[in-house]
């Protein structure tokens, strides 16, 4: 780590908060997040949910893009296999992201920063748990510099 | 056609006639049998009841020797076949298991040499036409209850024929000019070591097999397993005494019948070594018409 980097890290450590982007499918995970709210289950305010019709809509390129733009973590979440509103979208998600996760880890991205989970519309406690754990993991890792486009 | 030959312990003692008739049959069919030098006991039927790893390792040494010679292994004894096949499958299915076995036997065995039951080779690999061509004396008068027992058909991964109603031996006997009966105890267990260890239980198991074969109209039993034959042949008298029945049912190895049909001298096949007299039925067959000119 260069001196410069150390300095930078010190600066951000003061008021840095992890910023996590969550891609959530409308039918399961988004609804699960709604239920988490209805049940008043509390979790860290570090995530931003982006609604997509199906986890199958999430292009791996979105994930890289998000890291470029400066998020500290990305979660792609959808219906459990077999529960997809569109029958099979999440099976494609599974294939694509099994590869993508490995590729990201391979180029040096910490696996905690890019995660995939199945969270159903009924699994409010799971949503709460996943978000809480992921936030904490990323907080431990610190701000993400990898893949980041510094002009942002 | 060349195979590594694994006779197994029984074939050098209680199952001597199986060894004799196997070699004779193979000779006629032009199957080259290369006896695995210094082969060891496969562990059946005690190894797998004592330790899983040992039960896989004992046959592995024989298989490894055959693999070095680049040959598949022909195994007459059903129990030896089952144990060896188990080893082959364990090695093929798991790299870890393969490594463990190789370390125990201190030899290389990759599962390339396949364990083959002799019955499978003769009844299924060789075409019925080829068998029929070699028949010198049709088995007229033989009404066989083909008895497969357990180990040739179960479990499914090991067996090479249907577990409930196998046909390979029946087809072979028919090719030899004999008749076979349809009966329900083809694959019921003979008791394995039970007749030795818990005789009352074992005898009952045998009695049901004799009853079923008799009721189906058979005049002999045919097997591919020295343990089955020992139980059925050696203990037939005991069973008859215990249940006050009379069966008089000779028990043959399928190779004995094959050899007989191929025109080999009965004594060369060990047919005179049975407890239940087999020579009576054999002589009837030999006396009957049906000698073919082409021998």
């Amino acid at each position: 780590m260069s001196v410069n980097e150390v300095q930078q890290n010190k600066e951000v450590e003061q008021n840095w908060e992890p910023k996590i982007l969550v891609f959530a499918c409308t039918w399961c995970t988004y609804a699960g997040a709604d239920l988490t709210g209805l049940s008043r289950l509390q979790y860290p305010p570090n995530i931003r949910i982006l609604k997509v019709p199906c986890s199958g809509r999430v292009n791996p390129q979105f994930v890289i893009k998000a890291f470029q733009k400066g998020v500290d973590g990305v979660l792609v979440a959808g219906c459990h296999p077999g529960d997809c509103h569109y029958t099979s979208g999440n099976y494609f998600t599974r294939r694509r992201f099994l590869l993508m996760r490995r590729l990201m880890e391979y180029i040096g991205m910490e696996p905690q920063r890019f995660q995939n989970r199945w969270i159903s519309a009924a699994e409010a406690p799971k949503f709460q748990q996943v978000i809480t754990e992921m936030t904490e993991e990323i907080r431990t890792l610190g701000p993400n510099r990898k893949l980041r486009d510094d002009q942002w | 056609m060349k195979y590594a030959y694994f006779p197994g312990c029984s074939l050098s003692s209680t199952g001597i006639e199986y060894d004799l008739s196997t070699r004779e049959t193979a000779r006629v069919l032009g199957i080259d049998l290369w006896e695995i030098p210094e082969w060891n006991c496969c562990g059946a039927s005690s190894g797998h009841l004592t330790d899983h790893l040992l039960s896989l390792a004992l046959p592995a040494r024989n298989m490894a020797i055959a693999e070095e010679a680049g040959l598949d292994v022909a195994i007459p004894c059903a129990a030896c076949y089952a144990r060896s096949k188990n080893t082959e499958l364990a090695v093929c299915n798991s790299a870890e298991m393969r490594q463990e076995i190789e370390e125990v036997i201190e030899r290389k065995y990759e599962g390339k040499a396949k364990a083959r039951a002799l019955l499978d080779i003769i009844a299924n690999d060789i075409q019925a036409e080829v068998i029929k061509e070699k028949v010198h004396k049709e088995l007229k008068g033989i009404k066989a209850a083909c008895y497969y027992g357990c180990l040739l058909v179960r479990p499914l991964a090991v067996g090479f024929d249907d577990p409930e109603d196998p046909q390979s031996m029946d087809n072979l006997v028919k090719s030899l000019g004999g008749e076979t009966v349809d009966w329900a105890y083809k694959t019921e267990c003979c008791g394995a070591s039970c007749p030795t260890t818990v005789p009352e239980t074992g005898k009952k198991m045998l009695e049901r097999i004799f009853e079923s074969a008799k009721n189906a109209g058979a005049n002999c039993l045919v097997t591919a397993c020295p343990m089955c034959l020992n139980n059925l042949d050696m203990r037939q008298g005991q069973v008859e005494k215990t249940y006050s029945k009379k069966y008089d049912m000779p028990v043959f190895y399928f190779t004995e019948l094959t050899g007989l049909a191929f025109g080999v001298e009965p004594t060369k096949l060990g047919l005179n070594k049975h407890f239940v007299d087999a020579m009576g039925l054999v002589n009837e067959v030999l006396k009957a018409d049906g000698r073919r000119e082409t021998a």
């Binding site: - | 312990c9 006991c41 009841l49 370390e103 179960r154 070591s193 198991m205 407890f275």
Partner: protein
């Protein structure tokens, strides 16, 4: 008939059950739905104190000792009929095999003669590389205190050339001895 207390039976038998699962290569007793097809098809069931289905039931309830002490696991001839016919693809024969191995380890040998047979068998293999059937039969009966049990077969066997008076041996049995040694190093109890 007293009550069997099922309270806490799972917790107190957890480790024992794990041993069974491990020994059997992961056979799951809970897959069994107690239809009894195994027991109905079992050729030895009449000689057993519990049907094979009951053994599976013991395991489902974590009653491992009851399973280990049953003579069922010793009577099993290993014919595999149960496993082949099981509609839930439970390898019952493998469970019997595993229970027997564990019962030996723990000293629950309800059928001494059966166990003796197998012990002598393997001893013979280790000593000579092959099984010496004459010795095995005589040994089993002598040590089993039934010296004359199968004596009627001895002489006819010998006259038929079916029992050698001397054991067959392989010339150098070092390799087979090594196999036993190596297996023991890995925990084999033979």
């Amino acid at each position: 008939m007293g009550n069997i207390s099922l309270t806490g039976i799972r917790e107190s038998n957890k480790e024992k059950l794990q041993e069974v699962i491990k020994e059997s290569g992961g056979v799951k007793a809970e897959d069994c739905y107690q239809c009894g097809k195994c027991s109905a098809g079992c050729p030895v069931v009449f000689g057993m104190d519990n049907t094979p289905r009951q053994i599976m039931r013991f395991l489902q309830l974590s009653m491992v000792d009851e399973a280990l002490k049953s003579n069922t696991i010793w009577m099993c001839a290993g014919c595999q009929t149960c496993s082949v016919r099981c509609p839930k693809e439970v390898d019952i024969a493998r469970v019997m095999e595993s229970l027997r191995i564990l019962a030996r380890e723990k000293g629950y040998i309800t059928e001494k003669s059966i166990n003796l047979f197998h012990e002598l068998f393997l001893k013979s293999v280790e000593a000579t590389g092959r099984v010496y059937e004459m010795g095995l039969i005589l040994g089993a009966n002598i040590i089993g205190m039934k010296p004359l049990k199968d004596a009627e077969f001895g002489l006819p066997m010998i006259t038929r050339g079916k029992l050698a008076l001397m054991p067959h041996k392989i010339k150098d049995n070092g390799e087979v001895k090594k196999i036993f040694e190596n297996a023991r190093k890995r925990g084999a109890k033979v």
